[in-house]
């Protein structure tokens, strides 16, 4: 929960028509050579908070304050997306970046 993540140099994020698009920059990010990615609304919001400064705990707290949703559910969402983004090499631990 105290870890900090930032966007990886292996991808470029773009906002097109209000939607977040993640474009692989280096080889091996996508399953295929021409993959592009988008995120759902929750994912987009969390992506924008993964700024290399905020800890996961701070992100969960910020979202919990904003949505007054169940903290456990928010934590599960944040953990889920961080896990997926790490697997896809789209984020890195900020200290390791």
């Amino acid at each position: 929960m105290d870890m900090v993540f930032s966007h990886s140099d292996d991808v470029v994020s773009r906002e097109i028509d209000g939607a977040l698009i993640i474009v692989p920059l280096t080889a091996g990010v996508g399953d295929m050579e021409d993959d592009l990615f988008s995120m759902n609304e929750t994912g987009t919001e969390i992506w924008n908070l993964l700024d290399g400064k905020k800890t996961i705990r701070e992100i969960v707290d910020a979202l919990a304050g904003q949505y007054r949703a169940d903290a456990g559910e928010i934590e599960a969402d944040v953990s889920g997306i961080v896990k997926e983004l790490l697997k896809r090499r789209m984020i890195v631990e900020a200290t390791a970046a």
Binding site: V12, T26, A27, E33, M90
Partner: protein
């Protein structure tokens, strides 16, 4: 409990450049140079590789970066780097990386002669996200160099292709059917089929365009001599007749034009920026009255200017109005303002060669009878239905 997914594979086809009204945002063509290290007998664009005048007029690195930045800002997803031979630019790698770091995909058109280990490594480590398209002019040194006119070009092409293969850079190949390589087509197709990215026979140009700059009557006359006759073209296109019929039935199902004097009915991307910073509606259309200087105005302005103007342009040539405007083969036939411009210097004069090519194919498909003209056909919908039924039955 199943794991939730937050990241999705995305298709970019659903993003118009501007909501509702805009042209598709999928691709902007970037003609990095008109110069080429080949001097192909059929080429509609190339200037000599060492042409100092062309080189001096070309946009510099900073200007191209500015345009690429604007393209990304507009929502363009892919830029096609073409020419001429784009790898002739000393700053190719810099521009390529710049575009990719903006999140643009790059579609590279090349003859592969200038692929070096360094370029192959760049394309492998920072993939273009689009298959590179490599032009192939022959399967042997004699035929290849009879087309390119350059000694040693075949060996360089072979080396470039090997480097791409060695670094597993995805590419496809395409050919040009010309007198020197005519007898090698089966060999070309067999070689192409060994490329894992080729899931269909390679595309092969044969109805060559004249020079869009209208800069050389001598070269245009040479290009005309390389063209196949409509009958010869038909024989090649229908080598697999069932497949051809099925593809064409599908085409006509999607595109059946209504009679119209509107000149621009094609759905091209936002357009093309030529080597000197002039925006033009498409790669082929170089009518000086339809260009916009992006050194003096924003790319967005150029796209909007071109798009709105083109949508309103109407044909006035009586022959066009009598024939093309009423013809149900419009769209299937390659007649378009760009072809008319390069052939005749006007946007709306029928190109007889293309008309004959389209009619030969339409007769094979049973859409037009012998001695009949497509613009006289009144029951085109019924004829297309017949074609679809025939395809279904087979």
């Amino acid at each position: 409990m199943p794991e939730r997914t937050y990241v999705f594979h995305e298709s970019m086809s659903r993003y118009p450049l501007w909501k509702g009204e805009g042209p598709p945002a999928d691709r902007l063509d970037i003609e990095l140079t008109e110069r080429c290290n080949n001097a192909c007998i059929h080429c509609c664009i190339n200037r000599p590789a060492g042409d100092r005048q062309s080189r001096a007029r070309e946009l510099d690195t900073k200007a191209w970066k500015e345009i690429l930045g604007q393209a990304a800002g507009l929502g363009v997803m892919t830029v096609r780097f073409t020419g001429g031979e784009p790898l002739l630019r000393d700053d190719f790698s810099e521009l390529y990386l710049f575009a990719r770091r903006l999140g643009l995909r790059v579609l590279l058109f090349t003859n592969a002669r200038l692929i070096t280990p360094r370029i192959a490594a760049l394309l492998a480590d920072t993939p273009p996200l689009e298959e590179i398209e490599v032009s192939v002019y022959g399967m042997r040194r004699e035929s290849y160099e009879a087309v390119t006119g350059v000694d040693g070009s075949y060996a360089e092409f072979g080396r470039g292709v090997q480097l791409l293969l060695a670094r597993k850079v995805p590419f496809v190949v395409k050919g040009a059917l010309l007198p020197p390589n005519k007898k090698e087509q089966a060999e070309f197709a067999a070689w192409a089929s060994t490329n894992p990215r080729m899931d269909a026979p390679p595309a092969c140009a044969m109805f060559f365009d004249l020079r869009g700059r209208r800069d050389s009557a001598v070269k245009n006359s040479r290009i005309r001599r390389q063209r196949v006759s409509p009958e010869e073209g038909l024989a090649i296109l229908t080598r697999d007749p069932e497949r051809y019929r099925a593809e064409m039935a599908e085409f006509f199902e999607k595109f059946l034009p209504r009679p119209s004097d509107l000149l621009f009915t094609c759905e091209t991307g936002p357009g093309c920026v030529d080597a000197y910073g002039l925006f033009q509606p498409c790669l082929s259309l170089r009518h000086p009255g339809l260009t916009f200087d992006v050194k003096r105005g924003a790319l967005k302005e150029a796209v909007a200017y071109g798009y709105t103007r083109l949508k309103e342009m109407r044909a006035v040539n009586p022959l066009y109005l009598k024939r093309c405007a009423r013809c149900f083969l419009r769209g299937f036939c390659e007649q378009c303002p760009a072809k008319s411009w390069s052939e005749h210097g006007t946007l709306d004069r029928p190109v007889e060669y293309l008309c004959r090519v389209a009619h030969a194919q339409a007769r094979f498909l049973g859409l037009v009878m012998k001695e009949e003209h497509a613009w006289e056909v009144r029951d085109s919908v019924e004829r297309i239905e017949n074609l679809k039924r025939k395809v279904k039955a087979s």
